[in-house]
Symmetry: D2
Subunit: 367 residues, 4 copies
């Protein structure tokens, strides 16, 4: 399939540009009988939407989603689910200045070289605005996983520039605009972001996502491993430059005796695996960490070229997030949920009649 689809049995296909009339997607393969309405999706859409705090872009979008098909009498029918979000706050004039130039670190240049020209308004298809539909699709997966299997997918901001969350208090995540789980870090973040805005600069971030209560057995070796498909989905999020599962890059300096998670009848000892062994879920929590680069649109001038290849200097105006990571938590959750959903359906398909005599052990041994 072409590049705007993800998933093999639970397939999400999307369309829409930053400044087009609307964004939309089709969720194909959702099992029938799931109670679903737009209200089930709006919560995550509101968590992602812009303009909710002074630390994100001031573009105002209601991001109200309409479900156009696939739901009848309040339940999914098993047919494809069409969803639509109208764009309401485009200001194309903001971007007219960049029609003939390439913003450094943006997709402007690569899109232009690939397609011969580009929709320059707000980055067109390459804008993170597109991620709204991912969140809507992911919310369907999240609801199914939780209601049918008790699988919960949650994320948080683990680091922003130099500021790390030192503690993980899930109850805090939804109480601050950063999705930060550490009470001490929140005022530091506010202070840092205020200074950054004054500076007209941007900063990178780290988001962690966790899926708990995942049954063992999800993942299709050898290429469509669960962790491989998670890496694909995560690296496909705008601005992501790195993906880790479990111990991730710390594994480089670990010895086998440190890294291996021992098995006991009471549960796994540790989770360096991040919930995946040999590309198949182990029953441990799926733990994923991603690195997001600093926003490329900043007010500080930089060298670039125009569409004729001539050197020039430019400043990016318009409304931008100084840290794309701040709004990335719901997006990362959505992508992880979509991948788990797809693998759940694939696993059921091939292995519906499997009987396993070995009891599954708990995700983790109690301390």
């Amino acid at each position: 399939m072409s590049g705007n689809s993800i998933g093999k049995l639970f397939t999400v296909t999307s369309f829409g540009e930053s400044h087009g009339p609307a964004l939309g997607c089709i969720v194909d393969g959702c099992p029938p009988g799931l109670e679903l309405s737009a209200a089930d999706l709006q919560g995550d859409l509101d968590r992602r939407k812009p303009g909710t705090s002074r630390f994100t872009t001031q573009r105002r979008e209601a991001d109200e989603v309409r479900i156009l098909s696939g739901v009848f009498e309040g339940k999914t029918t098993g047919t494809s689910i069409g969803m639509l979000i109208e764009n309401t706050d485009q200001r194309s004039k903001d971007y007219s200045g960049i029609a003939n130039t390439f913003r450094p670190a943006h997709a402007d240049y690569s899109y232009n070289q690939k397609y011969g020209f580009r929709d320059y308004r707000g980055g067109g298809r390459s804008s993170a605005r597109e991620t709204a539909m991912r969140v809507a699709a992911g919310a369907i997966a999240k609801k199914y996983l939780l209601s049918r299997y008790g699988i919960e997918v949650r994320g948080y901001l683990a680091q922003l520039g130099p500021i790390r969350a030192q503690t993980l208090d899930w109850s805090l995540v939804e109480t601050n605009p950063f999705f930060c789980p550490d009470a001490d870090a929140i005022p530091k973040l506010e202070k840092y972001m205020t200074a950054l805005n004054k500076e007209g600069n941007s900063i990178g971030a780290r988001i962690n996502v966790v899926a708990s209560n995942v049954m063992p057995g999800l993942g299709e070796p050898i290429f469509d491993r669960l962790d491989a498909d998670i890496a694909h989905a995560m690296m496909g999020i705008n601005a992501v430059k790195g993906v880790e599962v479990g111990a991730g890059f710390d594994s480089i300096e670990q010895k086998g005796t440190e890294h291996r998670d021992l098995l006991t009848p009471e549960g796994f000892v540790g989770n360096n695996a991040g919930g995946v062994l040999g590309g198949i879920s182990s029953g441990q929590d799926i733990t994923v960490s991603i690195a997001l680069k600093p926003t490329s649109s900043i007010r500080q001038p930089g060298a670039t070229i125009d569409t004729q290849g001539q050197a020039m200097e430019m400043v990016t105006h318009g409304r931008h997030d100084p840290c794309v990571g701040i709004r990335a938590t719901p997006i990362a959750e959505a992508m992880l949920a979509i991948v788990l959903m797809d693998h759940l359906l694939r696993h059921r398909g091939q292995n519906a009649d499997v009987v396993c005599d070995t009891p599954a052990i708990p995700a983790a041994r109690p301390e």
Copy 2:
């Protein structure tokens, strides 16, 4: 497709277990007219194969590949290429002891839970032995990319446990068993590995891969981004726990002014992007870095459970690599080449460079 295929136009599908009679794969979509023989593949296979130094498993495999189809009179025909490698040095008795137990950090438990039982001989399908076919397939992609487009894919060991390569001298990489590009690091690696073997332990590693001379335009937004498919291919390699493109996790602490690669008519200034902007190649070098966990098979005892769920302690015997990273360089190169090849064809088609001497005849002869 099911999980043993990768790529959409340049598709590699593989089979084979550690202790089965043979490994094989089918490369589908290779453009016609490429001069190809087994000799073109053997070089990379020899770089990966076991038993070439005292720092890798002592299992002896010639890894001689046979091409069974898709090549005629020394050139690829455009039809599917079947390849086969016979296993010659299985010692299943080595593994009989683990038939009823799960080796910690191995795929034994997850395969068992997914499929209800497993081929326990050397990990069966989950063994890294399978990667031999990836290297053979990747060698086809490497030859096409280099001969047709001058695209070169190369890798090296960047770190092993605490030992980092401080310099990058490509001329050294093939001269030592570690694929290490730093002369000073090589004796340290030998000393470290010797001690590690005595200890009966294992260690992680970092491999870097670079593709140079890649044209701009490869990658299919928004889900099949080039970097997303690279992440999928890399995380799908045995023991890989993390993938970075360009600045990777360093992006977290970078500001926009540091991270962005400015454009000048003379070229890009820096390469924090790792050659990918908005999921599409920019013409910069594609730079990828991966983290490999320490080998799970070590001689030190560890707690685990048996297939009845009962607690027990086990020691892994048999022949194993103390650092899987040492042999991972050719595998990572192969996977990057496969992804680039697939995206090149998606961008330009399988037969865009075909020259046909036979004139096409009219649809129908005039009455």
Copy 3:
């Protein structure tokens, strides 16, 4: 991918039910630079739409399509094209009577057994109403094929019940509500359909589709043969029960000397192949013929069961086409165009004809 997508590089994914708020589809993989507007699609949509003559359903739908993405400044950008058609003339009450029964020869029963329940309004997803989006997507393919390669895709009604078109006058096809190419047959068709309506019955039909000026080389052996993918696309049209390419079922009684199309420098002698040899286009016209069953919704009573499995008798009310074949010509053209487009891209890539005025800059600026 799941079942609502067709095509691998030129991919059409659709959603929508007969009585939902809207129908939509996403066309992914359309090459950039094609001049496109809704007006280009409306012509074929109008050819398919209901209520244009007294021989089709009296449901009134404007079938006005909106293009929501993928087109900028009048040209396709190479990104996914979202399209939407609002439903305007639903009358769900017409269907309330069948909520608990299964209309014979309809998808009611099979959908119910597959999904556990169904959207019974007008057949929900199984309604031919869905084909409007196929026609919109096909119109994009038709425009590209014709404008870039001079490939023309045309169809006509070859037979309706006992009435056969004896002559093929392309100039007549668009001048009558049946897409009939035989002047003598048209009055017979009117007479026959008038009587059929009185009888409250329905009838089958045969549609022929021809693609001319197709270059040799399209089709991917051995499974994705061009004719195999054509058969898939055609049999996937509502009510189609048979597909032929070239001589089709007449081949059964042909000898090799009769069937084979000889090759001469002036062209092929005959076209029993239907333009496909070994699954690859030969340069002859692609000729396809399909059989459509009579509409299942008729006013004559018939035995069936209710959702409890109890026997009952039912009559189908509501507004229906007495011959679905009458409106099937534009649908069959659309599906053939979509398949040709997909294979053209697989053969030559999405962007093979892109011209980029911006020179590529070097990978890195010299130090």
Copy 4:
């Protein structure tokens, strides 16, 4: 994926040419725990293999298949199954004469135009020799379908040239070299084929395939309908020019009252649907009929062109089937089994938790 794969969850990928060293395929997605050995496949391979009667090609091939992976201790493991058949009776000299010419009605010309050159030995990849692997893969599907669900897939020769089977006696099918179910037709077939051989000509045929005891619910609307995927699989068999499901082309002249299969608690009345309603299996028998063209290789001379486009006359020597239809029955069975298997897995994946209150009715009402 590229063209040598079929199926989405149960995926068959194949390689091999008529005169290469071997044919092979990979079956990916087979559920674990199925008892399987080469002996399970050899039966169908022997039914297809050449040289078993004087009415087929005299090429001698044992067609002995080896299973190289995916089976452990006599049961499938759920991993990919690699299979290999060595070619033993190639006589390339037979074909040297056609290196520079195109055999009429063969794939020689279309392959040459697509790929720029071709493996001319026996048609290379386009040879029906390739179908041996389809039969091996289909035998796995047949065994799973029958042993797990009682689904039986059977076929027979319905017509050869002018000779039709007038009766259907399943017990006769395996007792004659034609797979003919009509005792009276067998001597006519022998007489006809003997005369045809003398004449140096070839003839077409019709094969019917039936799948019985199929549960309702298989098929993924709207594009991957069960009948659409069956059409794809059948039209993809060498020499097939037409595919019908149920009433097929007879539907053209049927009225709704004739065509519709009424539903009763005792079963369906008739089977014009061929077991598929709205693209989803209904529980009726799946009935498929295909038309095969006469063999293109005949001893009578015919006009053609050479690779320089010059006119010439040629005669096809070598060993050929005078009627490819004679050996096509096991191939058609295999393809139908593969499609059913794939859709069974896809259905289980999406709908594993569906509860349907409506009891399934029998395939057919007793007379």
